[in-house]
Symmetry: D2
């Protein structure tokens, strides 16, 4: 398993007239957390694209447990529970002061710039192996 | 079952540097389709809020099957397959010229302005009953 | 002068906790109106990009006169008052039922894909000339 | 004059198919910088709303000088050059490694929750006076 933590501060423009953060924005936050995850395990997304790979989102899911307000300082835990083979599943947990407000996941697959599915680049596999912790 | 159709034209600002529509925007499109669905069955979202109800998103899911490009004129089918009791599940299918590009769903529950869960307002139940088609 | 009109329906996700449409979204609406303008004068933005040109925004301005609410059906007037030479200035007026809620403008310049400034493509100049009405 | 500095990291979803950050997002960044400015001078926006005031945007302007790419770590300088009386003008300068990529401004007025214009709350005036530096 690999877990990293990222910080998000809720923007005014991310709220809606219900007074809470608009649900679609959580998926943008997941992406911020995912980019930060890749940085932290040592293979930035930029590097992935420079090697000719892209990592599109194949599926995205979120369960909204408690609303989130403007200016909250959120902690997002990004978690990989299974070593990626072809597809990658990433879990997210959104916390405000240790309370879970949202959980979700995204599924991804590596492709080249023509859209052809590829196995993950070896550097990615290596970084995951290096950072992996059995639990 | 109830099915309605809505049209979305992909905005330039909804694309990302991969050249496709950014995945989080599909959830905003689902919402446009959902608002249109409520209009079409005869109980606009505004009416729901005026009666003291809100209809937050409890869960959102999308599977991204084929990418969507700038300026595509998309058709979103909004589908209710089961009569809502307390929770409501809405399915979405995003088409470009009869090709399915994305499918997803959202789950909702009615609450009052204090956040207390409520049964759906009777007007909503009535409108669903009136528009329902057995399949 | 050339004037075209485009319709925008305010999305729930475009509101903020103040209860009105969030100001940055008006610039996305200006873009929708601008894309529609190019379609209506007969040179779609896609065509411009296919010819190797891009039309980035050099400056954007908006004055927010009256707030705009969820689900408003807005009319945006897109106006070119001066024939474009190198730079292009486009004005926008956002109306709800004949009341002006916002006015703004964007300035643009044509560039190639390397970012080098170019004179407008002749097809663009031709279309503007054809659609021009003296006032 | 008062100057504060804020950091923004460009999100993937903030880029568009041109490969750069989409122009409307700068206005959301200005807001992040503005909220941070209010925190830093000691009167958070939350406090302003709790006292019954709102601070809507009356005008927004940006000149886009050089494009900004995904993952850039930007510094936004937020500047008040004139002591606010009724209206407030705030300037923004967006830097990447000391290069100016964008400059802009917003104008604001205090209102109450009914939309009636008000003079700035005395706490705001006091904080501005305390933080003011003659130049």
């Amino acid at each position: 398993m690999i877990i990293t933590e990222s910080e998000i501060r809720v923007r005014y423009g991310e709220t809606d007239m219900m007074g809470f953060a608009y649900h679609a924005n959580y998926f943008a936050w997941f992406e911020v957390a995912r980019i930060d995850f890749l940085d932290k395990i040592g293979i930035p997304y930029q590097t992935i694209e420079e090697k000719g790979y892209r990592l599109p989102v194949l599926e995205a899911n979120a369960r909204f447990i408690k609303p989130v307000l403007f200016d909250y300082q959120l902690t997002i835990k990004t978690i990989i529970r299974e070593k990626p083979r072809v597809k990658i599943k990433i879990d997210y947990e959104v916390y405000n002061h240790d309370k879970l407000h949202c959980s979700g996941y995204t599924r991804h697959g590596f492709i080249n710039f023509d859209g052809t599915p590829l196995r993950p680049p070896s550097e990615f596999i290596d970084r995951v192996d290096t950072c992996w912790k059995e639990v």
